[in-house]
Symmetry: C2
Subunit: 444 residues, 2 copies
């Protein structure tokens, strides 16, 4: 009987497996996609795109066993060649090609020039040619950073005793009601797509004390802005046995600290490609009340905003600017949002119940997180639902968790794409989304 015993070492090498100095003169095999060909006549530089970066290979007439006409941009190949240290080459060495094995050939020339450092094209064109445009080194580096964020989130929370959960995206009723739900038919019954795992993660606090989820959420909002997506990845956590809603902000700060460390350690190549020389400050994050922040902005910038119950996007930008200027802060926790702008399950501040024990985290003046303490007392929850004129229908399971005892708790949801966008210095959230879904875009 033939047996599969696990992963065997390949005879082709990755960039990080070749030490230019130590392997000087060694014959190696490497594979990858032809990223660019710079033909200088008797010599040509052939840049291979590999998963861990670009590799400089050198074709020489009479040395390499093939003609330059045999390969094209986007051919995938295996080269046999000799390692030669060269300080000018990307990783301190190049490969003098001896032999070529073609793995696959493209059927048509590339529709975009992807081999330049940055794609010189509109966002619209980038999105239309997404599977190709992402082959650009700068574009693909963005989503490695995104990976680092998700990974940092999970690894930090595992270390803090959290349990990862998978909650359903199809549901009978809305978690939080409202018009912003995608609706569908589920075996002849009406169903919705969850706009947040809120109810589920709260129920699971009664089971595991601390839970998190990293999963898609769906919002049928008719916003057409640089900040909104109709499907995005939400990094959610919920913590039981909190002493105060500040515990939630402390946990998020811990996640950010851990993640910046992870990015600096393991994503240095991508940070360099993206030209990110300095990661945002996370050693301390200012915490300011909603009403105080509003006043500070009004005074400093002499600006009045109409809505006393919420922050307008421009107001958030100014809060970000103010805290950057005065405290050198990249992040700001804005706390104590008015109760009327927060969902029914938000815990009102006992000192002034027109405000809640809630917060948003702004990064560079953009809201990237909404969180807060939740009501854990069954009767208080029922009272607030009644006071808002809401129905409990469809919330029976959610409410049952409270009826049968829930600890004080709270949590948050982080928009992965927004956090990525701010970190990589883009100003449109679509730049930080592999395949964005918005009012007009359902493909690719």
């Amino acid at each position: 009987m033939k047996m599969i015993t696990g992963v065997a070492k390949k005879d082709t090498l990755e960039i990080g497996e070749i030490d230019g100095a130590a392997m000087d003169g060694c014959e190696v095999k490497v594979n990858g996609a032809i990223h660019a060909i710079r033909d200088m006549g008797e010599v040509a530089f052939i840049i291979l795109r590999k998963r861990d970066g670009l590799m400089q290979c050198v074709w020489e007439e009479g040395v390499s066993d093939f003609s330059l006409k045999d390969i094209h941009e986007a051919s995938t190949v295996e080269f046999t060649g000799i390692v030669r240290p060269d300080e000018r080459a990307p990783h301190g060495y190049e490969i003098r090609i001896l032999a070529l094995r073609i793995l696959s050939q493209p059927a048509a020339p590339m529709p975009l020039t992807i081999s330049r450092k940055r794609l010189n094209t509109s966002l619209e064109a980038k999105l239309n040619y997404r599977p190709i445009a992402l082959r650009n080194i700068n574009e693909r580096a963005k989503f490695k950073i995104q990976e680092g964020i998700t990974r940092g989130f999970r690894d930090f929370l595992y270390s803090q005793g959290f349990t990862e959960i998978h909650t359903p995206k199809l549901g009978a009723k809305s978690a939080e009601g409202g018009a912003n739900l995608f609706r569908l038919e589920y075996f002849h019954r009406p169903a919705i797509l969850q706009q947040s795992p809120q109810f589920y993660k709260q129920m699971m606090v009664g089971v595991y004390d601390r839970v998190f989820e990293t999963a898609p959420v769906f919002r049928a909002e008719k916003h057409n802005t640089k900040r909104h997506l109709n499907e995005y990845t939400s990094l959610d956590f919920e913590i039981g046995y909190i002493d105060s809603f500040e515990d939630i902000m402390a946990m998020e700060t811990g996640f950010l600290q851990y993640t910046m460390g992870l990015l600096a350690r393991e994503y240095a190549d991508e940070l360099e490609i993206l030209g990110i020389r300095k990661l945002p400050r996370t050693d301390e994050i200012p915490q300011v009340r909603f009403d105080v922040a509003k006043d500070m902005v009004a005074k400093k910038y002499d600006r009045q905003f109409r809505n006393p119950f919420d922050l307008e996007p421009e107001e958030e930008l100014l809060i970000g600017k103010l805290f950057k200027e005065e405290y050198g802060a990249d992040f700001v926790f804005v706390t104590h949002y008015p109760s009327r702008k927060r969902p029914f399950y938000a815990m009102d501040d006992p000192e002034d119940p027109t405000y809640t024990l809630s917060f948003d985290l702004l990064m560079g003046g953009l809201e990237i997180t909404t969180g807060g303490q939740r009501i854990h007392d069954y009767q208080m929850l029922l009272d607030k639902i009644a006071a808002r004129g809401m129905e409990t229908e469809g919330m029976e399971h959610y409410l049952s968790a409270f009826k049968h005892g829930m600890p004080p708790h709270g949590g948050l949801g982080i928009g992965l794409e927004r956090l990525t966008m701010r970190l990589i210095g883009e100003d449109n959230v679509r730049e930080a989304t592999l395949f964005p879904r918005d009012l007009s875009r359902l493909e690719p």
Copy 2:
């Protein structure tokens, strides 16, 4: 300005933070939910449910500053007490309670007895009371094991140079077409929920060479069996630059080996709670051709199955039984499925194109994975689409990735709930799903 500086140590301790012998006589604070109260008169054992297990606390008349009537099953509390080593107690110590602080009280008695080792109730009742039923130690341990699997999948693949991706679940057209799609309206346009990230992960192989995703998939299948869900978590990966489709099976075997190690190391408590004394064998996994496996089963068990192009569930069970009996194998790779039962993008076997370079992984006779090599050549893909009488409409973006060069590649999708179910020895996939979605269940 008030600053948040990260996670501070709490003054309440977790189970693992208390060393019974070293802390003999120390005063500590602990919190948790009252899991059970065993009243013996002047003394009572109060079992606290904490995120890392159960903690035995002792109430004593005259020592503890409260009456037993003050607390109930499902109250959440903070105890101040004295550590006392006791070999009979769960972690080698108990807490003699001095003082009580109530954190929250339930509003009604529990609808289920959750404090027994195993819930003595039907699956139906468990699912109806899901948020409560999961508080049972045995129930919640199942989903810690599930966490370990997902975590093992990601960590192993990171170590193998994979990039994690997030692909959209809302789409304009089916990835693979067919009747098994949930349909919805997306801003006045028809949309579907993706039944697999197949097209996206293939396109992303052209970008990162190796990619994975752990995310929900949606199948509008009208199956009502113990093995089917209409929404489940799929562990997907796709590898470029493969030498053969065996590379994919080798990678899956590597994942299983790594994950069994992770479970043994970090989930020992949960394995013990669930009574799992032996993890399945992953050192070597037999690989057998589809047609050979069919013959072996027919001969050994004298059974004939009607469908020559696929395996029936009972046939899969017998293959599992046979390989367990003859090779001591818990897993079997069944390879070379007939081309007509595999999707158009499956790579046909050049030696006999009526078969494909594909496989299923059976665990205990249940299919937990489908995978295989994919066609990477643009013209070959177009030819196969044409030969099947299919349209390319709606696949333009997918096909463009191939038109512009793709390496040889392949991958797989693993049903997380099925793998969990087999590992924990359950026979209904709903037992391994936090909140299952099936033909009749859309709540909780």
